[in-house]
Every structure is written in structure tokens, then in C-alpha cells.
Amino acid sequence: MVEASPKLSVRDLTVRYGDKTALDAVSLDVLTNEILGIIGPANSGKTSFLRALNRMEEFDPNMTVQGDIFFEGQNITAIRNVYALRRKVGVVFPLPVGLPMSVYDNVAFAPRLAGIRKRAELDVIVERCLTRAALWDEVKDRLDALGSLLSGGQQQRLTIARALSQNPELLLLDEFSIAVDPVTTMRIEDVLKELKHEITIVLVTNLVQQARRLADRTAFFLQSELVEIAETEELFTGTVQDQRTRDYVEGRFG
């Protein structure tokens, strides 16, 4: 199932906030059409890793990034048009963010940025993305309602639909389920399993079992370092394992 070609190659990635190191010299590959799970306790550098992938250091003057990130062979730490990169990379944040506009406009936001103006074309994209995010049936009659008025779980699926509307090649999910009930979480997980046939997914999660359910390979981050990365089943069944990983996945951490 997992193809060998790396979609993303990260080499010696170091992220600092001021003089505090959040991620220390991490190197790993993300393979095309896999779900890579990233697990680890709070402050282990998982989110910083994702932020660097999308060049989000530009939001935060305090954040500095060193090392190289190759996206399809192109070193994105040195590209000129960071906006074009971000259009290829969809991000889902931990807390759902329905932009203060209608459901329709939320999903049409990125296509409009990309220059699509025709209503008919947008209609198609909106319906397809909402359907893929398992939200279409619930909102098809109120596409004009304000996105920020949907329930938390719906907003999170709206966020996923929005991320899909960019036609991303890479989808980054940062603990998407912390504000979502378990039933919705399962629905989104099913969506992700479908999506990975077309998209490469990096899934940061606090739920060890979620990584086990979804991820083809899983990386374990601890205290700003990558402890190890392996096929998910190997990581969980203990074929190749660092003692720290074993403690964490078995819930004996601490």
C-alpha cells in the first residue's frame, strides 16, 4: 500500500521560539499516499513540526526554522512564493475555525483565492469537498448559514472541507479530534482513510490509539526529538522499539 517515493523529506529540522528549542534536528520522510502519524506528549514538538512544513514561521516573528524541507524534491525553505506552497498544503487546526462567513464561502474561500470566479464551478467544488468531509448531508440546506454557527464537530468537518477545497497534495492535521465527539471523530477517521488514496496525510495526535487505527507509519516525538519512526504495527507490537516508545504506547509513560 505504501509507495516508496517520499512526498516530503525533512532533514535536520530545528525549530526555535526565541531561545527555546521546540524541535531539535529532526529528519524523516513522508511517503506519497501514506498517513504518517505523529504521537508524543505535550511540548514534544509535534505542532512545531507541522507549522514548519507550512512555513508558518512567517506568522510569528519569534519562531525560527533551520534545516531543509523538500516537498517533491523542492527545498521549500528557500522558495519565493510561500502562498503557492500553502495552497498545496491543507492544514486542519486543533480547534475548529469556521471563518465568519457562510458555509459556502468558507469552502469557496481557497478556490476564489486561486482565481475561480464562476458560480457553477464553485458550486461543484463546494459540494464535492463537503461531501468528502462527510458534511454535505447536514448542511446542504443551509449553505448560507454562518460557518461559525455550526456545532464544533460540524465546524471541524467544515475545516477539513476547506482544506480539501485547495486540492492539496499534502494534508496536515493537528489533533483534529480534541474538540470533537467520538462519533464524529470516527466519521472523520473514515474520511481520512478514503482520502489517503489521493492525498498524503500527516496526522499529529494525542490519541495513541488513533494513530494505531489510521497511520501506516508512526513517528514518536519526545522532548523536541524524534525518538523513532516505524511501521505502525511494529511500533505498537514491539518489534523494533526504544524503551521510551514502548512505555508511551503502552500508557506507562512518566
Binding site: R86, L99, L113
Partner: protein
Amino acid sequence: MPADVQTDARSSGIAHDLNTRGRAWYIDRAVSVGVFVGGVSAIVFIVGIFVFVTREGLDFVIGPMDAKEFFTSINWRPTSERNPTYGILALMAGTASVTGLAMLVAVPFSLGAAIYIAEFASGKMRESLKVLVELLAAIPSVVWGFVGMTIMNPLIIEFFDVAVGLSVLNAGVILGLMAAPIMTTIAEDALKAVPDSYREAAEAMGATRWQVVFKVVLPAAKSGLMASVLLGVGRGFGETMAVLMASGHAINLPTSPFDSVRALTATIAAELGDTARGSDHYGVLFTLGIFLFVVTFIINLTADIVVKGVGRK
């Protein structure tokens, strides 16, 4: 209540604790009363001012006032011995033209400044700009009037080759500069109130800074921005001293920005000291006051409704 339960409670002393009001309770009560008085006093003052202004103006309104003349005549001759007339059309036009021009100046300036401070500037630049803007807002209006008379006036005369530089243009620009800082502060607050998560979400989709501002932040902040504009209108409407000094204070229906005009507020300020208490002239000035009060009230009420109305959606 069963007797044995009651006895239990009494013997343990709980009944006493639960029925005794301690110091904290009295302090809490005293503070709520104090804060209540403070809050209500605002209403008392507003109502008090309105009642006073109305009482002084009422004699004129129900007596010699001719509503048609009052609102449609440009003849403001309250001191005429034989035939005093009280038409405020020119005064309203003066106030409206100056306020209108002031908004043309202030809205782009204040919006631009607010967007820059809230969205683009960072660190020291941003802090110093904020302090400067607040400092600007604290300049007394008489100083602005002074600037209008001694700096703007000769500049306008020289630049546009006109005879008099105290005009709608002068007063409008001065008033615009005067209103811009407070409008900037309010607008910036409105922009800052837009959660950063909106910005991050939009930027993560590949929106540029300007696209984020234009498509996400401004729509999200529109009610606050509207409030800042209406506040500026209210400020322009009520401003007296700077307008008195910079407008030329001549009764005129302006046909060009270089005409001198007279504002409602400036008229009250300039003439009230010369009137005999209880005279028609005295009464009509208070009627102007009622009029101003009502208009400002309507502006503020509109601002409130706009803010709440748009905010709800």
C-alpha cells in the same frame, strides 16, 4: 423537620455559621450599592442635562418659534432690533458640510492607520504608533483651531489663490485630523478583536496578508469599524472651538469648499454670552442645543443598533 436532625445541626454549630453574615457579606453589599450609584449617575446626568436644556429652550419652541422659518430659512438675524429671524438652514449646512468633509479626510486616514497598526506593524513600530495616535487624540481642540487659523489659513490662501482661507476646507481638514486618532483607536480595537485563528486559517490556505485583511478581518470587524465612523461623525458634529476658529464663522450656504460657513455649535458658543437670560435669542440658542442633542442621540443610537445588528448576524 425531624427533631433529632435539628438538634444535631445545632449542636455542631452549623446553624450558627449558616445564619450569620460575615464581614465579606457586608463589604460585598456596600460595593454593589456604590457601583450601582456610579452607574446610575451617568443616566442621571444625561437626563439632567436634557431637562435643563429643554427647559431653557422650551419657552422659545412653544412661543415665538416658527418651525418652517427655523428649518428652511437661511436668515439668522437674532440680534435685529426690528425684525429678528431665526433660520438655521445655513448653520445646519455649515455643520453638515464641515462634518462631511471631515469624514472624507478622517475615514481613509483612520482606517489605514488602524489596519497598519493592527495587521502589519509589529514590535516597537506598533507600540510607538499607538502611543503617538493616543497622544494626537489628546490635543485640545483650541490648539487644532489655532493650527487652522495660523497654518492652514495662509496655506490655503497661497495654494488655491483664494481671498480667505477660513472655510469649509480648512475646518473640514482640521476636524478630520482631529477625529482621526480616536477613530483609529476604536477601529484598531475592532480589528484586534478578530481572533488570530481566523488569520492563521486564512493564511494557511495561501491567502496573502492583504487578502486576509480584506476578505476575512475587515468583514469580521465591520460593526466595530462602523461604530468608529459614527463616533467620528458625532465628534465632528459636536466639535465647537476648532470649527469656530477655522470655518470663518460666516453665515453662508456653501457652494464650494472655499466658502466660509458657520456651525451650529460655534453659533451657540459665540453668541450665548451676549444674550439676556430669558430673551428670544437666549431661547433659540437653547433650541439649537436641543436640536444638537437630539441629532447626536440619533447618531449614537444608530451606532448602537448597527453594532448590535451586524454583530448578531
